[in-house]
């Protein structure tokens, strides 16, 4: 893993958490959407918060697929899970949602999970590739 790749993972975290918080804030203005008033979603797309959320999520998506091009899905998802910590903090600051002691325990668990996976290999080596490399290693 290079510094550039860690920066890509950091960008996934920042774009993802900001995007979700913006969407959460935007949908508060529209009330409950049901089958009878589904057209509210069309209006929601013009809401500044939803537009900001979509812009952040486009950034998230570009960085996310970049990360998937050189790392396993089961590496990228836990490694970027710290975004839920950012999301909880942003929701507390900007949406005034309550962050309790239980939430902080959850944040600790997520951080531990990120630590577990971030120190491991980022990509599964296919079995045939591993077999092909083995004779070379023995030759050396």
């Amino acid at each position: 893993m290079t510094a550039r790749k860690y920066l890509v993972l950091l960008a996934v975290v920042i774009f993802g958490s900001c995007g979700d918080v913006c969407l959460g804030r935007g949908m508060r203005d529209f009330g409950a959407v049901t089958a009878s008033n589904w057209h509210l979603l069309l209006g929601a797309i013009a809401d500044p918060w939803i537009i900001a959320g979509i812009c952040f999520l486009i950034g998230f998506f570009c960085t996310y697929i970049t990360a998937l091009s050189w790392a396993d899905l089961t590496y990228v998802l836990p490694a970027t899970a710290i975004s839920y910590v950012f999301m909880a903090l942003l929701a507390r600051i900007f949406l005034h949602e309550n962050v309790t002691l239980v939430h902080w325990v959850g944040i600790g668990l997520i951080t531990a999970g990120v630590g577990f996976v971030a120190t491991g290999p980022s990509l599964t080596v296919p079995d045939d590739a591993a077999l092909n490399r083995r004779p070379n290693r023995e030759d050396v």
Binding site: G31, I65, L68, T74, V102, G106, I110, V117, T124
Partner: protein, 126 residues
């Protein structure tokens, strides 16, 4: 909105997001490192290569379904409940699906990470 409706919304997010993640991860593995591809062929070639991949586009469709499911469910419940709850279940679903469909080596470290993150996300939703 009833609890059953909220959890149905969350379940829809989980299924569509997992399908989207698996399809896109498979597509990106086929395409290869986007950074190297951009350096060798340019940004336009990267966009063309990604956009012409049918598995990627199908994944995008599922991600769009997950997005609209998220919007609807967010209108029923707080982001601090819907986000963590759907994400924790998607983590577990993805670990199983990546092992089965992408043949990823999900070792003890990755299972522990998925479980810790999922547990943490559940606590965040309380």
């Amino acid at each position: 909105m009833s609890t059953l409706a909220v959890w149905s919304g969350i379940a829809t997010i989980v299924v569509t997001a997992t399908a989207g993640d698996i399809l896109q991860a498979g597509a990106m593995k086929n395409i290869g490192d986007l950074g190297q591809l951009r350096q060798s062929s340019g940004t336009l070639a990267v966009v063309r290569r990604v956009a012409s991949n049918s598995r990627f586009m199908l994944g995008l469709l599922f991600m769009a379904l997950a997005f609209f499911s998220l919007l609807v469910t967010l209108s029923w419940e707080n982001v601090s409940v819907v986000g963590p709850a759907s994400a924790s279940l998607t983590f577990i679903g993805n670990a199983f699906a990546a092992r089965i469909f992408l043949k990823e080596r999900v070792d003890h470290r990755r299972w522990l990470a998925a479980l810790f993150v999922a547990g943490g996300v559940v606590l965040l939703a309380r």
